[in-house]
């Protein structure tokens, strides 16, 4: 880095280079961050594409029982052949994949093998319900757990740390379905405080918020444990670093050290932790919604898997993968923005 560059380094030119080329070259040199984001998104799309291939192969590589599962075991071979043709299952794999992808790009997600309904209408309102569940859980869990993690991490071995550390270590080991079942037993069955299942006649969780409580509680308990442990580790590592010792030797008060000197270096790891937890959340929704029979997309997927309802499985899987990748991209971009070393090198 040559002397005379600005702190942000955005117009740093490596010495010996010519003036920026006209057009995109110049734009690229002036907006390295935008270039980074675009590149990251492009990679993400490529990844999504690769995952769609995986999903397709995973569900369809074995010649389908699809026809059999619709018509039942006693269908005649002829009926099966006709059904196969109707479903387009007699075409080669690549063609089927192409048809599927082009359908998605036009908004057509196919039809359920079980009910015949368009997939988009089946999952439409369920997506909303799942978002409400995930959103509520995240809003509660992230601030709470990050705060607890910071409190525990800044004084390793302290009273707060011991309690928090042991507790979280135990909680991350408990499978969500067991915790959910236990909560049902305690709160719904024994104490009758809350409904055991989320059977909703109409309106969804917004009109019956009680059905949210248990699933959210389950997700919050386990998710918080993850966040707490990882934030605690991150803060602990920062507090052990040389520059924090140096701040103490310079006479900076401890509280100021934690708030102004340490935390800003823990931001990037914390963003990573939150991203990882959100990804875990995506995975955990399947089980939690099933345990509580919550009308969300996760439960729908599990039903579809049991019923071998391939179009539904494919669509939900692709959607989930897209969200998963999106979280990664968001986290990467945030981290580059937050870490000065990366920001100036971008």
């Amino acid at each position: 880095m040559s002397v005379g560059t600005t702190a942000v380094g955005w117009d740093a030119e490596p010495s010996g280079q010519h003036e920026p080329r006209a057009g995109t070259g110049a734009w690229r040199a002036r907006h390295p961050l935008a270039v980074f984001v675009l590149r990251r998104v492009a990679v993400g799309l490529l990844l999504l594409f690769a995952l769609s291939v995986l999903v397709f192969l995973g569900t369809q590589i074995l010649p389908g029982d699809a026809a059999a599962s619709i018509l039942g075991r006693n269908a005649t071979p002829r009926a099966l052949a006709i059904m196969n043709r109707t479903l387009g299952l007699d075409k080669p794999l690549i063609t089927r994949y192409g048809l599927w992808i082009s359908g998605i790009l036009h908004g057509d997600l196919g039809r359920s093998l079980v009910s015949g309904e368009p997939v988009s209408s089946i999952i439409g309102y369920r997506i909303v319900n799942t978002l409400i569940l995930a959103g509520t859980a995240s809003i509660i869990m992230i601030p709470l757990a990050v705060a607890l993690g910071v409190l525990a991490g800044r004084k390793p071995g302290g009273a707060v740390d011991n309690v928090v550390s042991s507790g979280s270590l135990a909680m991350i080991a408990v499978p969500e379905f067991i915790l959910g079942t236990l909560l049902i037993y305690l709160l719904a069955v024994q104490l009758h405080w809350l409904p055991a299942v989320s059977v909703v006649l109409s309106g969804g969780p917004l009109t019956n918020p009680k059905i949210l409580v248990l699933p959210v509680l389950t997700l919050v308990i386990v998710g918080s444990a993850y966040i707490i442990r990882m934030v605690r580790a991150g803060i602990g590592e920062v507090m052990r670093s040389d520059y924090i010792e140096m701040a103490r030797l310079n006479g900076v008060p401890e509280r100021r050290i934690v708030l102004r000197h340490a935390l800003r270096n823990a931001l990037a790891p914390t963003v990573q932790v939150i991203a990882l937890t959100l990804q875990w959340l995506v995975g955990g929704l399947f089980i939690v919604e099933t345990v509580f029979a919550y009308p969300g997309i996760g439960a729908e997927l599990v039903q579809a898997v049991i019923a071998r309802d391939i179009p539904v499985v494919q669509s939900v899987a692709l959607l989930t993968a897209a969200v998963y990748i999106g979280i990664n991209i968001l986290a990467d971009v945030l981290i580059v923005l937050l870490v000065p070393k990366l920001r100036t090198a971008a």
């Binding site: 702190a7 010792e245 310079n250 100021r256 000197h261 270096n265 100036t344």
Partner: protein, 620 residues
């Protein structure tokens, strides 16, 4: 606390008595330490690894690292007792009364804070005003650019030398009376080091600071300190005015230390100190140095000697100090002065080597040519980034050159070691810098040494092991070491094992890549002694790569000076060091610290203005 003046009045700025610092289990890290220092003086604390000098330095701020505690004694700075004070009060005094400059500014500066803000933080912590003007003054005080743009930089956007100056600026910003500097020039190249040292002297002279400078490098201390305290095994073993302690050391350890320091103008045979410094757990009951001391008597092992006053305002912790012989430097007899034959053993022709990364290409060697004859010692000298290590790696087949040839006995060698015939691989061996990396932690020492003989000489396992035992003796290690794992050995012992391993297949050329740069100076001398002996016995040719002119001067016959991949000068040792022709060589010689007189065109001349400091270091 409020209202007490923070500036020291007349009288000693620092007064330490009976300092004792212990680990949690009661073992002393530092004990029986007395120090004093007045304004405008520099006190040097010298010691090798494990001597306790950093622990002592931190204690001068009333600070101990987790796991250690200040068990006894007092530290009085500017008239204020630091021991026994609650942490809150100590915090107020740190930075304002006494401050600290750390060894590695790269990790000691907060990577997410602009340097102007970091300076302001120190001011604000002591409720002092932190205006832009103050920051500019702070930066200007250490000769850094005082414009807004510079203050807005992050630490990673500064060079090593600039980072160190920022660290010094932070230590000075609240105008303390005492500054403790802990090896602040370690890791900086020689020219930058010289400019930082000039800075330290200026601070003493112009600001009247009292400075405690901790280092393992006696040559640096010699140029800087007015008084000197030598530490060994947690105790001060000798103390006094620098010039006198260094010219007539009274304690056997100090004497051994001075005798092991390489000097490139007054060359001497380097003598190491036999034995190994022991860790805290295994310190003997009497004098800690006794097991290694050539002058010991029975009484030395019974009780720890007290620090006694001797003529000249000096203190020595030795009951036999009067028997300490004066320094008698012996001119070196390097084995590799003369070639053993007419034709060159190794020839390097127009070597060009690059390091390619995703964004750029760094030239490590550009058109380098030289030769090494059988039995000769040739040194490659240069700063970090000069390409000397890369050249060594090309010769041993670890780095593919972009152009040029390497010939062994007239035959061109393949670029990759794996493509070379067995004979070629056998005859060229390389030893690396890092002793903690050079041996496989999972292999016993004997197996490690035996392996090359098995692979390259085709020896059976038993024959190779017998061979290995003989080699252990040659490098002056006890045969019992063969059974141990590297983790149980010290740095110097590990390097000697690495040498034994390199010799296992009976090579003709040994490439030594900064093999002693990571070792304590007395350990370095032992390793070099061993190397010289081996060379004489076996008629080895040695290509010695180093940045240390003094070390090079004690063993080399011919020298090549490298700068950024280009050979600036080459010739016999006397010619290059005595009558350097190229400007770069002269700068190197001028900047290198020495024990005795400053070299002509010494550090004062070589000290560059901070703004001229080069940008962040290029890739090696």
């Amino acid at each position: 606390m409020n209202g007490e003046p923070l500036r020291a009045g007349p009288g000693p700025v620092l007064q330490v008595s009976d300092l004792r610092i212990e680990l949690g289990n009661g073992l002393p890290v530092v004990e029986d330490v007395d120090l004093s220092l007045t304004r405008g003086r520099i006190l040097g604390i010298v010691g090798e690894s494990g001597s306790g000098k950093t622990t002592t330095a931190l204690a001068l701020l009333g600070y101990t690292r987790p796991g250690a505690r200040l068990a006894a004694g007092s530290v009085v700075v500017g008239g204020r007792e630091l021991t026994g004070r609650p942490e809150a009060e100590l915090r107020q005094l740190r930075g304002t009364l006494v401050s600290y400059v750390p060894q590695d500014p790269g990790t000691a500066l907060n990577p997410s804070m602009r340097i102007g803000v970091q300076l302001a933080e120190v001011l604000r912590a002591h409720s002092l005003s932190a205006t832009d003007q103050e920051i500019r003054t702070a930066l200007g005080r250490v000769l850094l650019p005082d414009d807004v743009e510079f203050a807005r930089r992050f630490p990673h956007q500064l060079s090593g030398g600039q980072q160190q100056r920022v660290a010094i600026a932070m230590a000075l910003v609240c105008q303390p009376s005492l500054v403790v500097m802990d090896e602040p020039t370690t890791g900086l190249d020689v020219v930058t080091q010289a400019s930082v040292l000039a800075e330290v002297r200026r601070l003493r002279d112009q600001l009247g600071l009292a400075i405690v400078y901790v280092s393992h490098n006696l040559a640096v201390i010699a140029e800087l300190a007015d008084e000197l305290a030598v530490m060994y095994a947690g105790r001060i073993v000798e103390q006094g005015p620098t010039a006198e302690v260094l010219s007539t050391p009274r304690h056997p350890y100090s004497r051994g230390l001075v005798a092991s320091i390489p000097d490139f103008l007054e060359r001497q045979q380097l003598r190491g100190i036999p034995g190994v410094a022991v860790g805290i757990e295994s310190r003997p009951p009497g004098c800690a140095f006794a097991p290694r001391c050539p002058q010991r008597v029975a009484a030395c092992e019974e009780a720890v000697p007290a620090l006694t006053a001797i003529p000249g305002g000096r203190l020595v912790r030795c009951i036999e100090w009067q028997r300490t012989p004066p320094l008698a430097p012996v001119p070196p007899q390097p084995a590799g002065l003369q070639a053993l034959g007419p034709a060159p053993l190794l020839e390097v022709r127009s070597l060009r080597a690059v390091h390619r990364s995703r964004v750029s290409e760094v030239v490590a060697a550009a058109g380098v040519s030289f030769s090494v004859a059988a039995g000769e010692t040739v040194a490659l000298v240069g700063e970090s980034g000069s390409g000397k290590t890369t050249i060594g790696r090309c010769i041993s087949g670890l780095h593919r050159p972009a152009a040029g040839q390497i010939l062994l006995d007239g035959k061109v060698l393949a670029a990759d070691a794996s493509a070379r015939p067995r004979e070629a691989r056998r005859r060229i061996q390389i030893i690396f810098q890092n002793p903690y990396d050079s041996l496989n932690p999972k292999h016993r020492v004997l197996d490690e040494i035996a392996r090359p003989a098995q692979l390259l000489l085709g020896l059976s396992r038993t024959a190779a092991e017998g061979n290995a035992r003989a080699l252990l003796e040659r490098v002056q290690l006890s045969p019992g070491i063969g059974r141990r794992f590297p983790a149980e050995l010290s740095g110097g012992e590990r390097q000697r094992v690495a040498i034994a391993r390199a010799l296992s297949a009976q090579p003709s050329l040994l490439i030594c890549d900064e093999i002693t740069s990571a070792l304590d100076v007395s350990v370095q001398a032992t390793v070099l002694e061993v190397l010289a002996q081996l060379q004489a016995d076996l008629g080895l040719a040695v290509l010695f790569i180093s940045h240390d002119l003094g070390v090079v001067a004690s063993i080399a016959g011919r020298v090549l000076v490298l700068e950024s991949g280009v050979v600036r000068e080459h010739g016999s040792l006397d010619a290059v060091l005595g009558a350097p022709r190229h400007d770069y060589t002269r700068r190197l010689i001028g900047a290198a610290p020495r024990l005795g007189q400053p070299a002509p065109g010494g550090p004062m001349a070589a000290g560059a203005r901070a703004a001229d400091d080069p940008g962040p270091e290029p890739v090696r």
